[in-house]
């Protein structure tokens, strides 16, 4: 059967741009199986930003890589699920078709700018490469476009002929963003783009991402462990724990009407600038070993509200309202609520 | 048109008759006898009614064919001997010990001090120049100027040279020289052409009168020859010849087996077996006059002691050495004289000291040896095996031996008369047919006297023998010298070496000689059907 290289792009602003349905991704080692992502679902409309929040090891990066079908094989196996992007199931596309949508329909930027760029290619060439792959332009035009993109991210266009080692960390990340946005993708996946940068640069980069989002209307999946970042630029939030989404909803839902004990714990862990005397309240214990996940709720061993049935068997998602869902057995009891005093937008 | 055809026909028939005559002529050139053998005066009997291969390749190791430079006789490198037999001629030749005419057709001498030679008048050099007596004088002057070479040794005794006419030459030697003719027959005393050398200083010396012309040369690689069609002597059917130096013995074997080379001097012991078992090859051997011997440092405390030397002589196992070092190719002596096996006047009355461990122990007890370590210096390759075997044997009587292995140049330097650093050394002695060659080994002060043997009586006897014309007297003197040697044992004769020559079974015409001047100039190969 001949490989399909054409893509049908469905462009309906009302429909969801990205729909992740029951995605399960495991890493199959010789003696054990790492259950990185377990049956997660979320969706994103055109131009919206969703924040994927969680600790290290929660499965955020794996989930994000899956959207581009870039999970490193042969160990990484997508066990089940669908990822629908502009009407195409990414998981069922041929390599050639995937190459077409990567960089064009969906781009991804990664955590460490120091190693994300090819040290022996000029930054201009690296941006132009993306352009040449997806648009029918000649080398000169592609290079010009590269210079434009650099200007857009706040770097003088003349520097397109320079090499990555001649840029500082923050500027490298800006180059990475320039590469990602060179072909004007509809969706940008940003995997902890500011984690490796210092705070002032972090603010600059976030700012720039926000501006570009405004300018081009790009939808963003922002992966982060920093709730502050989420508050800055996300419209929607999905909290991940042990490969599952334990709470999802709009920014207001999750921040002001927190339902999941884990999310509550996250908010408690943030130091409060107004109350310098208060002590930090960490969540006791550690995230479970992803090769030995418990049968029932993975958070139960650390949860202050846990009871016997929590660990018993599989949980199912509970809808609180149209936008807000939570994965917690406690809400079987309609009177249950968390001990949070107020919303945390004010903290 | 018709006229042309007629003259063409006439021409053709004339040509045919002419060529028939020529070929008849060459058939008459070949003497009668068993094909492949040489007659008494050095002519080769060629097989008849067969076709011959035009182009032959002979290969060997670096002792023989590694030609660094061709300029006989200025260089004494042994390998040039091969070139010399092919490219040049000498005044006389030595065939089976007898002097036969070569460039000189006749000679006379009354007192072995004044010699007159009559030269051939039909000889032409490779460059077309006629050979005259002037060329002899020029060549010999050149030899006399090249100190340190074999050619110098052969001509240094000449006092005057005179050419009364183009084809006569007269020599006077400084002293009576009974071996003068033998020296002239030596391949290094070859005749060169003055005009050629004057014209081309680099390649002028390539010009000779011999059967083969040098047409190509790559230093340490190969030398290519083409047959000299205007050669004065017997013609040969081979047209082209190449002598190649092939470094590895296994590679030589492979070149033989795949037909790249048709003949080979010197393989390795293991390779010999394959070649000899292969029906496609023949092999010829000749026991040369070159012998392995052990030399003792007469000035050393331990080896200078006669009883120690006698002990060693009684312990040596020659058969083992021949087997181990030469794969069985070698001739052990039947008498106890230290002398070339083919050299004249060998004293066969001297008894051979056979291996006798008890006797050896007795001698050792009488000597001043107290268990010290004695060092044998030996060369690389199969030379060191002699030292190893001696070490094993000597251990049986309690003598501790240390072996010092070095390469050829090192060996030269270690065992010199002056400042001899080797207590014992395993060496090769190239004796010649003439007895006077012993001088270089026994005479006090001689460079090749590897035992630092200083016996004034022997020196006197040698001086006397060199000028004694009477053969019977000479023989007595040399036998006396050998007796003294056997009593004093500065050297122990091990065995005479054998040269093995492997050739394709269709190859013939190679004349191996006991004095190692093997002549391959007449090599031929019959084309197989």
């Amino acid at each position: 059967m001949a490989e399909e290289t054409t893509i049908d792009r469905v462009d309906d602003s009302e429909e969801f741009l990205l729909e992740v349905k029951n995605l399960t991704v495991h890493y199959v080692l010789e003696t054990e199986r790492v259950e990185a992502v377990n049956d997660i679902s979320f969706s994103l409309k055109k131009g919206r930003t969703i924040g994927l929040v969680g600790e290290t090891g929660a499965g955020k990066t794996t989930a994000a890589l899956s959207i581009l079908n870039l999970v490193p094989g042969p160990l990484g196996v997508i066990e089940s699920g669908e990822i629908v992007l502009s009407g195409n199931n990414v998981l069922k596309l041929s390599p050639k078709q995937l190459e077409k949508i990567r960089g064009k329909d969906v781009s991804m930027i990664f955590q460490d700018p120091m190693t994300s760029l090819n040290p022996v290619m000029t930054v201009g060439d690296q941006i132009a490469e993306s352009v040449k792959l997806h648009e029918k332009v000649n080398n000169a035009a592609a290079y010009r476009r590269a210079m434009e993109m650099l200007e857009l991210v706040g770097i003088p266009g003349m520097r397109a002929s320079e090499y990555p080692h001649q840029f500082s960390g923050g500027m490298k990340q800006r180059v990475v963003i320039a590469i990602a946005l060179a072909c004007n993708p509809k969706l940008l996946i940003a995997d902890e783009p500011t984690t490796a940068l210092d705070v002032t640069i972090q603010a600059q980069v976030l700012d720039m991402i926000g501006q570009l989002k405004e300018k081009f209307g790009t939808a963003i999946v922002m992966i982060t462990h920093d709730l502050g970042v989420v508050a800055e630029i996300c419209d929607e939030v999905a909290v991940m724990y042990a490969g599952k989404i334990v709470e999802s909803g709009t920014l207001d839902d999750v921040f002001n009407h927190t339902t999941h004990p884990y999310t509550e714990g996250l908010f408690y862990s943030i130091p409060k600038i107004n109350n310098k005397k208060a002590s930090l309240v960490p969540i006791p214990g550690l995230m479970p070993d992803p090769t030995k996940l418990p049968k029932g709720c993975a958070f139960a061993p650390r949860c202050a509200y846990a009871f016997e049935e929590c660990s018993a068997d599989k949980l199912s998602l509970r809808k609180i309202n149209q936008t807000h869902s939570v994965l917690c057995r406690a809400y079987d009891n309609p009177d249950f609520h968390l001990n949070l005093k107020e919303g945390h937008n004010n903290a | 048109m018709k006229k042309c055809r007629k003259s063409a026909l006439v021409f053709l028939s004339l040509a045919m008759v002419f060529s028939l005559l020529i070929s008849c002529g060459s058939a008459a050139d070949s003497p009668s006898g068993t094909p492949g053998t040489f007659t008494e005066d050095g002519q080769l009997v060629l097989p008849t009614g067969v076709e011959f291969v035009d182009d032959l390749v002979v290969i060997s190791d670096n002792n023989k064919f590694s030609v660094i430079d061709i300029d006989n006789p200025a260089s004494n490198v042994l390998t040039n001997r091969w070139i010399d037999t092919l490219v040049y001629d000498t005044l006389v030749d030595c065939v089976a010990g007898k002097i036969v005419p070569s460039l000189a057709k006749s000679w006379e001498t009354a007192d072995s001090k004044h010699f007159t030679f009559k030269l051939r008048d039909d000889v032409v050099f490779h460059n077309g120049e006629k050979f005259t007596a002037k060329d002899v004088i020029y060549s010999f002057q050149r030899h006399q100027a090249a100190k340190g070479t074999q050619a110098y040794d052969n001509t240094k005794n000449i006092e005057t040279m005179n050419a009364p006419d183009d084809y006569t030459i007269e020599f006077t030697t400084k002293d009576v020289d009974v071996d003068f003719l033998m020296e002239l027959s030596n391949v290094y005393t070859s005749i060169l052409n003055q005009k050629a050398i004057d014209a081309d200083a680099e390649k002028g010396a390539w010009v000779g009168t011999g059967l083969w012309k040098i047409v190509g040369f790559a230093s340490n690689d190969y030398v290519k020859f083409e047959v000299n069609s205007s050669y004065w002597g017997q013609a040969t059917p081979t047209k082209k010849l190449t002598l190649k130096y092939v470094v590895e013995p296994s590679t030589r074997l492979i070149q033989l087996q795949n037909g790249e080379a048709q003949a080979c001097f010197q393989l390795d012991q293991t390779d010999y077996q394959y070649a000899m078992a292969d029906p496609a090859f023949r092999y010829e051997t000749v026991t040369v006059n070159s012998s392995m011997y052990l030399a003792f440092n007469m000035n050393d405390k331990i080896t200078g002691d006669i009883n120690f030397r006698k002990a060693v002589a009684a312990v040596i196992n020659r058969a083992d050495m021949i087997q181990v070092a030469q794969a069985g190719f070698g001739e052990a002596p039947t008498d106890g004289s230290w002398w070339g096996i083919q050299t004249e006047f060998r004293n066969t009355d001297i008894p051979l000291i056979k291996q006798d461990i008890e006797l050896a122990k007795e001698y050792l007890a009488k000597s001043s040896y107290k268990g010290e370590e004695v060092e044998i210096v030996a060369g690389n390759g199969d030379w060191v095996k002699h030292a190893q075997l001696a070490q094993a044997e000597l251990q049986k009587i309690g003598v501790k031996i240390k072996i010092f292995q070095t390469d050829a140049n090192g060996l030269f330097a270690y065992a010199k008369y002056d400042g001899n650093q080797a207590q014992m050394v395993a060496y090769v002695g190239p004796f010649s047919f003439s007895a006077s060659s012993i001088k270089s080994f026994l005479y006090p002060g001689s460079v090749a006297n590897r035992a630092s043997y200083n016996n004034q009586e022997v020196a006197k006897l040698i001086d006397q023998a060199t000028v004694t014309i009477d053969v019977v007297e000479r023989e007595k003197l040399y036998k006396q010298i050998q007796q003294i040697e056997a009593d004093e044992l500065p050297f122990i004769y091990l065995y005479a070496r054998t040269t093995v020559f492997i050739e394709d079974k269709n190859v013939g015409g190679v004349r191996l000689s006991a004095d190692a001047t093997h002549d391959i100039s007449r090599i031929y190969m019959v084309k197989s059907k």
Binding site: - | D221, G410, S446
Partner: protein
């Protein structure tokens, strides 16, 4: 860049001085001299002294060395004591043979090893990778002597395709080239594989894939482009060794190259020729290393910046 190259070339001078001194001393200390082969058994002591004087062997080593260095300073490598012809001529006559052999080995070696190494890295831990590793291990452990003889046995004797040595045209070139080429290939494959393995885990490959770069280009352009440095280093090393005279291959195949020439000069104690050969070989070696370093600059801009001095790169970072 030019200044860097010039500086490197200037280093040749101390190298030549050191090398010539070491070789001269070592050879002079070895027992025996060139004269030993130039005399007969009947040469008298007086004649021997005369001949030794001709080659200054009666004078101390320092004198001879000084004379040699003086000649060297004037660009004269001297004349070989045994042949009487110029050292330069002898070397140059043989150098093309070794050069051609080195070039052929390079083409065979690198031409085969790059794809092998890349594939081994790409399909690492599969049967293909294990086969390649096994093959390179054999290649590296196998003595070239043995391999050469094996090839001779098969292809020269059993199948009669190629001649067994010598230098008679293109055909006699093949087997020695394959022998040294295979040696080269074994080492470069290993190095390519390790270099690629390292690079294959790099983040910028992930970036490239996320851009939609086709997998083939990811490997060939992005991965290989960064793997060059260790590969070039290895090629430089092995090639230098090949060029310096594969004495063993030259011996097995009777290939008239400079390796054999040097050995023969040492055996003869021809100090001038041996010294000259070693000096010239060292020069070739040094120039090759320089070429390797220049290649680094070509493939890696970070190193290029280093060579160009700190001024330029400082300016860039400040911007």
């Amino acid at each position: 860049m030019l200044r860097y190259v010039l500086r490197r070339i200037l280093w040749l001078i101390p190298v030549i001085i050191c090398v010539s001194f070491i070789i001269y001393t070592l050879l002079s200390l070895a027992p025996g001299t060139i004269v030993d082969k130039m005399i007969t058994d009947s040469t008298t002591q007086a004649e021997l002294q005369e001949i030794m004087a001709k080659y200054d062997l009666d004078k101390p080593m320092v004198y001879r060395y000084a004379k040699y260095m003086w000649g060297l300073l004037q660009g004269d490598l001297g004349t070989s004591q045994i042949t009487g012809s110029s050292v330069w001529q002898s070397f140059i006559a043989r150098l093309p043979n070794t050069l051609w052999l080195a070039l052929a080995s390079l083409v065979i070696g690198v031409g085969l090893s790059l794809p092998l190494g890349i594939l081994a890295a790409k399909y690492s831990s599969t049967i293909w990778d294990n086969l390649t590793t096994g093959f390179t291990l054999i290649g590296m452990s196998m003595p070239s002597f043995w391999l050469g003889l094996l090839l001779l046995r098969w292809f020269s004797l059993d199948f009669k395709i190629f001649p067994a040595g010598g230098n008679a045209g293109l055909k006699s070139f093949v087997l020695p080239a394959i022998t040294s080429g295979l040696m080269l290939m074994a080492m470069v494959t290993r190095q390519t594989r390790s270099a690629m393995l390292e690079v294959l885990h790099s983040d910028y490959l992930r970036t490239a894939r996320a851009k939609g770069v086709p997998e083939k280009s990811v490997i060939r352009v992005h991965a290989l482009g960064n793997a060059w440095i260790p590969i070039i280093t290895t090629i430089g090393n092995v090639l230098s060794r090949t060029l310096a005279g594969q004495a063993i291959v030259e011996s097995v195949f009777s290939w008239p190259g400079i390796g054999r020439l040097t050995i023969e000069a040492v055996e003869q104690r021809d100090v001038t020729l041996a010294c000259g050969c070693v000096i010239l070989t060292s020069i070739i070696y040094v120039l090759l290393l320089l070429l390797v370093d220049i290649m680094y600059a070509v493939v890696d801009p970070r190193i290029r910046a280093q060579y160009q001095g700190t001024k330029k790169s400082k300016k860039a970072v400040m911007a």
